[in-house]
Symmetry: C2
Subunit: 238 residues, 2 copies
């Protein structure tokens, strides 16, 4: 039975963290809203009153008879079966903790263009976005990236991977984050990037993992765009 | 060896989700920054370069030789040993998923008074806060609360608890969220509250759990205040 992923069909978004893990593991999965059932299947799932354990928002994964939501929770579940998580208990919690901190950064990236609320268009909150983005680029972005750089630097198993010495879902998520940030804030990333060489090298290394390369070159990998979390509005960059 | 909690000593904040679980379980713990080692011990921990697995931000818990951060991650670890989590695998992931959705709501509550950035005072972003709060009260708050109400309503074990039929860390966190929201947005909560009677009843029931009542009446429970996540600024309420 293939794993079913339910996510918006036109953006990378939060779903991409799940797609990358499934693709890197060459898992048997269906991206439902981009397959034959299409977007209505996602809406049906979100609106179903028959689910005892309803999801709040996509991405949602159906696996082993469970309906799981929240990116980090999904990866906590799938990681071991995809061979993309540490096998020891301490390592599992550490990987999950890192994933949750990546999730915090995702929210802040989203808020650079939607600081007032998701119900309004960017154009309706551009003044606030300009102000938010200044604080994001000068304080938050360097703080988060230097933090993740320090994880690579301190990893007793070396700076090839974030967790231990084997590719994990956290490395894949970090690849996505760095790729998204370079798309959205090329100038700020050129500035901050010099402080985090290990993170940039990790990004480049993950892109060369054969299953990842194959995915990135396929039509399954959606192009970045300005309906996504990582948006390129030059006025929000350095 | 007591569990050590490291969190800001003057606010409930995100640390309160951990404090409530420890108190409800009558666990042997030290709230380090509020005890003899004091706040410097928290800063030492945050600035230490000797930790292979550094925390990004408080709350932080030292337990079983681990240094854990991220509220939901800490509760995922502590829940089973405190007897405050389901014992089956599916239940554990469901409880964790709910906790992560509570965490999302915590961030949005925080952003009602800090929509531009944590590095600026409220007074420096009041115009943006007024706008954010309108969308929060009219859309996000009802959406989140009706979602959690539906979890109680759909729980096959009844609407006494969010997860199964035993008190869990998710119920304790929901108590804290409702208490904070009533403090911060009394008028909006009077309006939205009528839609979520099960959630309000859960809040009242949790407050009567003997260990919780004892904690709430003790000096260990900090008073809500306007340095916290849940702040009462009348201009941000209905």
């Amino acid at each position: 039975m293939p794993i079913e992923l339910y996510y918006w069909p036109d953006i990378q978004g939060r779903g991409e963290f799940i797609r990358l893990a499934l693709e890197a593991a060459d898992a048997d999965y269906i991206d439902v809203a981009r397959s034959k059932p299409g977007l209505p299947a996602l809406f049906d799932l979100l609106q179903s009153t028959a689910i005892d354990q309803p999801p709040f928002a996509p991405p949602i994964v159906k696996v082993d008879g469970l309906v799981l939501a929240q990116v980090a929770n999904i990866l906590l579940y799938l990681g071991p079966q995809l061979g993309l998580a540490p096998t020891d208990e301490a390592g599992k919690f550490w990987a999950h903790q890192c994933q949750l901190t990546i999730a915090d950064l995702v929210s802040e990236v989203h808020d650079t263009h939607h600081p007032v609320g998701g119900g309004l268009y960017y154009g309706e909150q551009k003044a606030e976005a300009l102000r938010y983005a200044v604080a994001f680029r000068s304080e938050r972005l360097p703080k988060f990236l230097n933090y993740f750089e320090s994880i690579l630097e301190r990893n007793p198993a070396g700076d090839t991977c974030l967790i231990g010495d084997r590719l994990s879902y956290v490395d894949l998520s970090m690849f996505q984050m760095i790729a998204g940030l370079i798309y959205a804030f090329p100038k700020a990333m050129a500035r901050v990037g010099v402080q985090v060489p290990r993170l940039l090298a990790l990004h480049d290394r993950v892109a060369l993992v054969p299953n990842v390369t194959r995915y990135l070159r396929s039509t399954r990998r959606l192009a970045p765009n300005n309906d996504d979390i990582w948006r390129h509005y030059p006025e929000l960059d350095d």
